[in-house]
Symmetry: C2
Subunit: 361 residues, 2 copies
């Protein structure tokens, strides 16, 4: 390793999290002649199957974490809820990329929105709330409908509740897991009457160079991403604003790796919704529609290597295979131009992402 901790081929990338993103990161690393060590609290995981090596350990087991750090050149992660203590324990031993700042901002919805505002990124109205009374006060300001979210640890629609009328306050408070008489750190967001949801995947390297993938249009259902398509059905100015916001955020975080930025489009306005400091489900199409995928660019950046181009050679639609959707694998395999990706998970459960299919058009 040089002073900037750039890896050489044969180095080992440590990956926190052995899910499907860790799996796809491991494959991208292997293509580049890099080894991977996946760390996960579970004994099995989709990422374990393809990583060079894997180890099981809790995120607060300092002995295991120290062993993990000793065996890798650099650390990255597949999910944004890596505990801050884990990240700082590891960062004292090896470079952690993306850095702790990106984790801190993305783990806390209130800090995230404040960060957007501070850096001039357009956001919808929001207010911090810690009790049903706070919510009632905030509603007076933001109006209804509104969305109540925990500040931390929500994903795929969990930890969220929609309020449509004033009577919904107590039910929403209960729905996010709060007891009526306790204080909970939450955020109330004005409902944004968006016409389209889009996202931008941006890669940024150690030297600050960026590669920005084409804007993706996303469809969520029950809070879970169902489908992503490129090109997005939005205007060129909307695309340019979104990509510009993504560049600003990555720069402000001095980010290293791939960053996902999600937006609401309201007419010709673009509002940033949230960021994910990692490869992102809405960027899976880059594997089959680009010469250099989000996974390869994340690994390149994390290794301290230059980025590949984000150029796209085909239009594409990605559809998640959720729950029993994957049982259609024979039909998908037989479909011309459909690229099947399965994660090797043993058991399908409702809402569980089992794979995805990219259709090139």
């Amino acid at each position: 390793l040089d002073p900037l901790h750039r890896c050489v081929p044969g180095s080992t990338i440590g990956i926190l999290g052995g899910g499907q993103l860790g799996r796809m990161l491991s494959m991208a690393a292997a293509q580049l002649g890099l080894r991977t060590l996946v760390y996960d609290p579970q004994r099995h995981g989709p990422g374990f199957d393809v990583a060079t090596e894997h180890m099981t350990g809790r995120y607060d087991d300092e002995e295991r974490l120290a062993e993990f750090a000793a065996r890798v050149s650099v650390v990255t992660y597949e999910f944004e809820n890596v505990p801050a203590e884990t990240a700082s324990f590891l960062a004292a031993r090896r470079p952690v990329r993306p850095g702790p700042r990106a984790l801190a901002v993305s783990q806390d919805r209130l800090a995230e929105k404040a960060f957007f505002r501070e850096h001039g990124c357009p956001v919808g109205p929001f207010a911090p709330v810690e009790s049903p009374d706070d919510i009632r006060a905030a509603i007076a300001d933001l109006g209804l409908p509104a969305v109540l979210k925990t500040r931390r640890l929500g994903y795929d629609g969990k930890g969220q509740a929609v309020l449509r009328q004033p009577d919904d306050v107590d039910a929403a408070w209960a729905a996010i897991g709060a007891r009526s008489n306790t204080t909970v750190s939450a955020i109330l967001e004005a409902f944004v009457p968006f016409t389209t949801e889009i996202s931008v995947l941006i890669a940024r390297d150690l030297d600050g160079a960026t590669a920005v993938y084409d804007v993706t249009e996303n469809v969520h259902r029950e809070g879970i991403l169902r489908q992503s398509s490129v090109p997005a059905g939005v205007t060129l100015p909307v695309m340019e604003v979104a990509q510009g916001v993504a560049r600003s955020i990555a720069g402000a975080l001095d980010y290293v790796g791939v960053l996902g930025v999600e937006f609401f489009v309201v007419g010709d306005r673009v509002l940033v919704n949230e960021i994910a400091p990692r490869v992102h489900n809405s960027g899976h199409w880059t594997v089959d529609a680009c010469a250099c995928s989000q996974f390869e660019n994340h690994i390149r950046a994390v290794a301290g290597w230059p980025l590949g181009p984000a150029t796209r050679h085909s239009d594409a639609t990605m559809t998640n295979l959720i729950g029993d959707d994957w049982l259609n694998w024979p039909e998908i395999l037989a479909e011309r131009g459909a690229c099947l990706h399965l994660y090797g998970k043993g058991q399908a459960r409702p809402g569980r992402k089992m794979g995805h299919v990219i259709r090139l058009t």
Copy 2:
């Protein structure tokens, strides 16, 4: 498994050979939700890093082979010199794809040429030889220059010698490893004054459906493939004849998997040179220039699944990184449109393939 032994996702594909081809086959299998078990006599290998599991064992260790067979649903291989006894031992326990016939034909240069002739495929003049006297007699018929090759176990230019004048006979006999007073099964081939070398990669599934990749133009040096490009610089009729010959051979072998067929082009004539019953170095460009690579189609066929299209979305040039070539990895990473593939091999030796780069154009 159904009667035709079609795999379901989660099944394990057994791969004989843990080199770079086994590595890339394992990655293609992982994408499709299949597991892999790589078997190799060596304790380390590029394929071990990405396979779900690996085991070390000799090709004549029946106990290890039986264990290997018991752990997999179907067997394939990354190299054509799998001993016939190994293949038949395994075939008695699990489907071996491609089948034993393809191995038998491709392991013996004389049987291979006879097979081509028998199936009406155009081949250059050749004669079986077992002694220096045989060679002298064959030269009278075939003329000079000519190429002397062992019938078995040559690759990357090994086990070959060129004869330019009658005096070269004894030196050539020695060069292929034969003693002057022993009998060796060899073949003498008339030198083909080719203008271009091309190859065709064809995939064929259990039901006999085929997917044929675009004709590739190849450049060898010192018997080792250096570069492959698509489209090939040959006429459309030449391409069509080559693809037709590849289809005939795959059909005649009732082949399952990806087959590489190498040709010499002499003016507007096409002569088949040899086949490889496996994924092939000259097809590596399909990973970056096609939605469905040769590796994915090999795995699909071996699993008993339908093939993906062989459609190409970009022009491409593949350059092998041989010996110390791979040390240019920083320049290759920085080159726009270059896709770097490294095999994770520890030590570079002269002539050793350490990786390759695909340049999309």
